[in-house]
């Protein structure tokens, strides 16, 4: 049986069916955990169908596994789904993080488990929907859906009394720009007569430089940038991260917003995106330093991780707005690797919280001797976060920065200081939690090192970090298609300012020895 045309629908709605099933089952013993684990693992297996059957040599910019059915005749809304090199790996990533989230919540969520796992699965449905939708209307429906379960998760399962405020803040931050986004989506429809993204993008139905166009593009960008979040729109981030349960934090930031920028903002408004790119590059570079500096001064582990996340997301923002192949490929790759390292970090912090009931580093300390396996995994994750070569994050950061260097020397230099600062705050964290003498709380408590379930959740992730750091071309093959397509998409534009993309891809090795070098070198010297 050839599943290729139904697979995406299956992937998207299996968690929904699972959520309904869980809602019907009684919440006894570990039924919810095992049920959710089975559903998420099955979904993950289905997502693996995509890379196994993906056509890696398909023309850049084409969509695969697509399904396009008319849904509502007027306005013309289609059920159009499909993936390319960008969204395929994001679907797989979403599939991978879900079982990990279930394992991380196994004991951490002890009451109202049914509510938790149902909402968790609904969140997954929304994320899959966002990643596969190619129809603007369909996309918007999933986009809004992604907001609701997360808000309830934070409000219900938050850690402190502050949870409702954090949830409200998150909701308002995300919802208000989304409302404006809806207006812009409808404006796009009135201008083009279709909600179909590939049609609009490939036929340049949205060309022209009107004020309205500019405003609509800003509405898209604002909604996405808040969701990422891009500095300085990150007001909701640290509170939401601090409150949300581990499984929710893993999917809270980054992916949805960044993907939407890449797919919809760049797809619909390439010229506007180029015009605003210097600003976004600056915000990215500043965000890296800002996130790292604030992470350096936190006492709360989760807030530290929140600002570390802000830094990582700023790297990606910087990379994709350079519109170089290296920057885009690196940025997309970094979405994957940042999510994985971030997930591992949050899971580990959650495990510490399960043991000691605190995220405050001042109350911890000297744990290395007590929890040798925990410290091993913490150090591996730390090394991944600080971008040690041969681990996953290095590949993304390196490509992003090398892409940025092509045109933005100063901002690249600013961004590269993040390499120093990230080492500073992560190693400081390790030292405060694990080295030195035993802290007050740990001294008073008897705890255990990782149990088999925790080993099972974490080691595959640790190994994945290493494999992604060494064998990056396995992922890059598909990503590079999309990265190249986005740079070309812009070159295809009829009339706009063109930014030269990718000097080094054009300067073939031999070229520099020819006459052109005479002109190149003095230019660079200046």
């Amino acid at each position: 049986m050839n599943l290729d045309h139904q697979i995406l629908t299956l992937i998207t709605f299996i968690p929904l069916a699972g959520a309904i099933l869980l809602a019907l089952l009684p919440d006894k013993g570990k039924t919810m955990q095992w049920g959710a684990l089975a559903i998420t693992l099955f979904t993950f297996l289905c997502t693996l169908h995509l890379p196994a059957h993906y056509a890696y040599n398909a023309p850049a910019g084409s969509f695969q596994f697509d399904q396009n059915h008319p849904w509502i005749p007027s306005p013309a809304i289609h059920y159009h789904i499909g993936v390319d090199g960008l969204s395929m790996w994001l679907v797989v990533l979403t599939g991978l993080l879900a079982p990990l989230g279930v394992l991380a919540s196994w004991n951490a969520i002890s009451s109202r488990r049914k509510t938790f796992y149902v909402l968790f699965l609904l969140q997954q449905v929304a994320m899959f929907g966002v990643f596969v939708s190619l129809d603007l209307f369909l996309y918007y429906a999933f986009w809004e859906l992604s907001l609701v379960p997360m808000t309830i998760l934070i409000a219900t399962f938050g850690r402190t009394a502050n949870r409702r405020r954090a949830a409200l803040k998150y909701f308002l931050y995300a919802f208000i720009p989304s409302a404006i986004l809806l207006v812009a989506v409808i404006w796009v429809y009135t201008r083009t007569g279709t909600f179909d993204l590939p049609t609009i993008a490939s036929q340049h139905l949205l060309s022209g430089t009107s004020t309205a166009m500019w405003l609509a593009s800003l509405a898209f960008l604002l909604a996405f940038a808040v969701k990422v979040p891009v500095f300085p729109l990150h007001g909701w981030l640290s509170d939401a991260v601090a409150e949300a349960p581990t499984a929710a934090v893993m999917v809270l930031a980054g992916k949805l917003g960044l993907y939407s920028i890449l797919r919809f903002y760049f797809g619909l408004f390439p010229a506007e995106a180029h015009r605003i790119s210097p600003l976004m590059i600056a915000l990215g570079a500043v965000g890296i330093v800002y996130g790292a500096l604030l992470a350096l001064t936190q006492n709360d582990l989760k807030r530290l991780a929140a600002f570390a996340t802000l830094g990582a997301l700023s790297f990606i923002t910087l990379g994709i707005f350079t519109f170089t192949i290296a920057g885009l490929d690196g940025g997309i790759f970094h979405i994957l690797s940042e999510s994985i390292s971030g997930a591992a970090l949050f899971v580990l912090m959650g495990l510490l919280y399960e043991r000691y009931g605190t995220y405050d580093m001042r109350e911890l300390g000297g744990l290395a001797a007590k929890l040798p396996w925990m410290v091993t995994l913490f150090v591996i994750t730390t090394l991944s976060v600080v971008g040690l070569p041969m681990l996953n994050n290095f590949v993304g950061e390196f490509l992003i920065l090398s892409g940025a260097m092509a045109h933005h020397h100063a901002w690249t230099a600013v961004a590269t200081t993040g390499v120093i600062l990230s080492a500073a705050y992560m190693l400081l964290m390790i030292q405060r939690v694990f080295y030195g003498s035993l802290g007050d709380k740990p001294e008073a408590m008897r705890t255990w090192d990782l149990d088999p379930r925790e080993h099972l959740a974490l080691w595959p992730i640790a190994i994945l970090m290493l494999v992604m750091g060494i064998a990056s071309p396995f992922w890059m093959r598909a990503i590079d298609q999309t990265g190249t397509a986005i740079t070309q998409q812009h070159e295809d534009l009829p009339q706009t300012i063109r930014i030269e993309s990718e000097t080094y891809s054009q300067a073939a090795p031999s070229q520099i020895t020819t006459a052109s070098a005479h002109t190149r070198i003095p230019e660079a010297t200046r």
């Binding site: 208000i176 007001g235 192949i325 290395a368 041969m390 590269t416 190693l427 030195g436 890059m476 520099i512």
Partner: protein, 680 residues
């Protein structure tokens, strides 16, 4: 040796790391030792085989490319290894000295709690260091570069329960990261300029474009120098190395003296084609090297901790190598790198032996008269001291003299060359002085052994656990009935490396005897294929006059070394109070140097504190709470305010609704008529 086997040289130690790292906790100690030693011995043998193959076939380079590591359209980096004569020398040092130190550690660390962990990290270090010297491109070199930093972090912080050790490890990593910042930017510029990071590609492009000079290349070189200064502990980033002495002594010997810290010199030598095109960058390298050499020597003269003296001496000697690179005498730099690896590893291991003998005591003021107690350590250490002081015909003399001569004869910038020579010569005198000071204070004079405090108070400096107490007594020498604790036959496993390194310190310099001293300077010829492409204007012309000059300079530097010996003899043997008296005459100066010129405090005061204050105050309070969250709150308030207004509109009053309806309709009509002028 077939090229495919090259991968075994780094990967075998990595396998050792994995085995000991995952199972070491449960394995018996002999198994841990066996794994660690075996997986470092085989690479050493492979290197010997490699050396033999390359010499017998006359091959200049051996390369293997094993697939892509990072690949995007228009740019890729490969897993590529390459061996030339420079790599051969480095590999021989890394695997040879590395194996000897593994051997020594098996004895030295025998009773430590984290025995398996220590050897796992040590093997991990061997993996990354081999990758570093074998890499065929900048990025793979950077893998090794960062990786040895990681191994160094883990090993410095080996006694992680001690705050000072944890701090030192963290400091080493972060300061190295500052250097890596430069290295990374240099790589990005190289990509932008050459479209590749492969050595062969970049260097052949340079060779094909003789007019490429200065400008961007200078920027690249200066950024690389920042990286090298971080790894090789040069001004302004040397501050981490003295603190790194918190690690176990074999680690200081292997990583912080013989191999890792020389990576910066290796990198500069490897990229000499770039540096040759930028006289400014070369001058900067030379000046940093000379300044570091004399500055660290100053501090080294007044330290009391035996390992810290050696640490500052290492910084100073690395400065020499930098100086050599700066005058484009790359083969002299590598020569000194090699001899330094021998004698400094020896000195550290011997110092470890001394510390062991004294139950963990590191303060030289509490030492003395040890030459009869621990004769083998004394004799081997003497070889190291004489070698580093530059007494002929030991190893250090030839390599140091080569550097001084090449600086003096630096034709591209004669004035600078003479100055560098003078600084180098003064440093040589100081080196001789502080090394003999160490020698006299440790091995001669009155004994303080019996006053030794028990391990519990002082041993913590080296050994965090009292389980090591009984080891301390086993030092190592035969038939000393006078020993207060009874004497045991020393374990051969610790003595063999000492003796081998002592022999190498004696004769290791004979491969570089200059023609002026009737030698053949084999090492320079051996390295010729690598460095021959150095720009012709920097190369010096040998001739009879040059020989005479070289001979004369050699005599001067020997006299300087002897002067250092003589002064140390007067101060610390003949009239032991003189030194203290002089120190009392100039208390301010003495304190300044004693406290390392307060550089650490200066950095902390000028950089770290302001950064944290700025972050907490401006970023944390004003920006984060005020602007970022404040604007969110403001948006919330605005929404509520708007809600208040609209609530008032919904009054339930029909007439008011009708009025609003009419107003709205009028507005819509207005927009429909005039709006298109506004929205095109």
């Amino acid at each position: 040796m077939p090229a495919q086997y090259l991968w075994l040289i780094p990967l075998l130690p990595f396998a050792g790391f994995l085995l000991n790292g995952t199972m070491g906790r449960r394995l018996p100690r002999p198994a841990v030792t066996g794994i660690a030693l075996l997986f470092t011995l085989i690479p050493a043998l492979l290197v010997a085989w490699l050396w033999q193959t390359m010499l017998s076939t006359g091959q200049q380079t051996l390369e293997i490319v094993s697939g892509n590591w990072i690949a995007v359209t228009g740019f890729h980096v490969d897993f590529a290894l390459s061996v030339d004569h420079l790599t051969l020398i480095m590999l021989a040092i890394v695997t040879g000295v590395g194996f000897l130190i593994h051997l020594y550690s098996a004895g030295y660390m025998a009773h430590e709690e984290g025995y398996w962990r220590f050897f796992a990290y040590l093997n991990l270090f061997m993996f990354f260091m081999s990758v570093l010297v074998l890499a065929e491109n900048f990025l793979l070199l950077f893998v090794g570069w960062e990786g040895v930093g990681l191994a160094s972090y883990l090993l410095i912080g080996f006694y992680f329960k001690k705050d000072s050790a944890a701090n030192a490890g963290k400091k080493a990593f972060i300061v190295n990261r500052i250097g890596d910042f430069g290295f990374l930017l240099a790589m990005f510029l190289l990509i932008a300029e050459f479209g590749s990071l492969s050595f062969s590609h970049i260097f052949s492009t340079l060779a094909a474009n003789p007019y490429l000079h200065g400008g961007l290349l200078t920027a690249i070189c200066l950024l690389l120098v920042l990286g090298a200064a971080g790894k090789s502990a040069q001004i302004p980033l040397y501050i981490w190395l003295p603190d790194a002495m918190e690690g176990p002594t074999p680690v200081s010997a292997l990583i912080h003296a013989a191999t890792m810290v020389t990576a910066g010199i290796y990198m500069v030598a490897r990229c000499h084609s770039l540096f040759d095109r930028s006289p400014l960058a070369l001058a900067v390298v030379a000046c940093i090297g000379a300044a570091t050499a004399i500055f660290a020597a100053c501090i080294g003269m007044v330290q009391h901790d035996i390992k810290r003296v050696l640490a500052y001496s290492t910084v100073s000697q690395l400065g020499y190598m930098f100086l050599a690179c700066g005058v484009a005498a790359y083969s002299a730099a590598i020569f000194h790198l090699m001899t330094h690896a021998f004698f400094k590893a020896l000195l550290f291991l011997a110092a470890g032996s001394v510390i062991h003998a004294l139950s963990g005591e590191q303060d030289m003021r509490k030492m003395g008269g040890l030459r009869k107690r621990i004769p083998i350590t004394f004799w081997t250490m003497s070889a190291g001291v004489f070698a580093i002081a530059g007494i002929p015909p030991l190893a250090g003399f030839f390599s140091k003299d080569e550097i001084l001569y090449r600086a003096f004869a630096f034709e591209a910038n004669p004035a600078l060359g003479k100055l560098l020579w003078l600084v180098g010569l003064i440093t040589a005198g100081m080196t001789s002085f502080y090394m003999f000071r160490l020698w006299f204070k440790t091995f001669f004079g009155p004994e303080h052994v019996d006053e030794h405090p028990p391990l519990e108070t002082h041993g913590a400096a080296v050994h965090s656990r009292s389980t090591t107490t009984h080891v301390m007594e086993d030092e190592h020498d035969e038939g000393q009935a006078a020993h207060p604790h009874g004497v045991h036959k020393s374990p051969w496993i610790m003595l063999v490396p000492l003796v081998i390194l002592a022999v190498l310190s004696l004769i290791g310099g004979w491969v570089g005897v200059p023609q002026a001293l009737y030698g053949h300077n084999e090492i320079e010829h051996f390295l010729d294929p690598v460095f021959a492409s150095a720009a012709p204007e920097i190369a010096i012309s040998p001739g009879p006059i040059a020989h005479g000059l070289e001979f004369g300079l050699a005599v001067v530097s020997v006299l300087t070394a002897l002067l250092g010996l003589f002064v140390a003899y007067i101060f610390y043997y003949k009239r032991p109070r003189t030194a203290a008296a002089i120190a009392q005459r100039f208390p301010a100066l003495y304190n300044l140097v004693q406290n390392k010129f307060y550089i650490d405090e200066l950095y902390y005061f000028a950089i770290v504190t302001p950064l944290l204050v700025f972050t907490r105050g401006i970023l944390g309070l004003v920006v984060e709470t005020g602007l970022v969250e404040g604007s969110g709150k403001l948006a919330g308030l605005a929404t509520r305010g708007l809600g208040g207004i609209t609530r008032r509109i919904q009054s339930g009053n029909i007439r008011s609704y009708a009025g609003w309806l009419a107003l709205g309709a009028a507005a819509v009509i207005t927009v429909m008529i005039f709006g298109r002028f506004w929205i095109r």
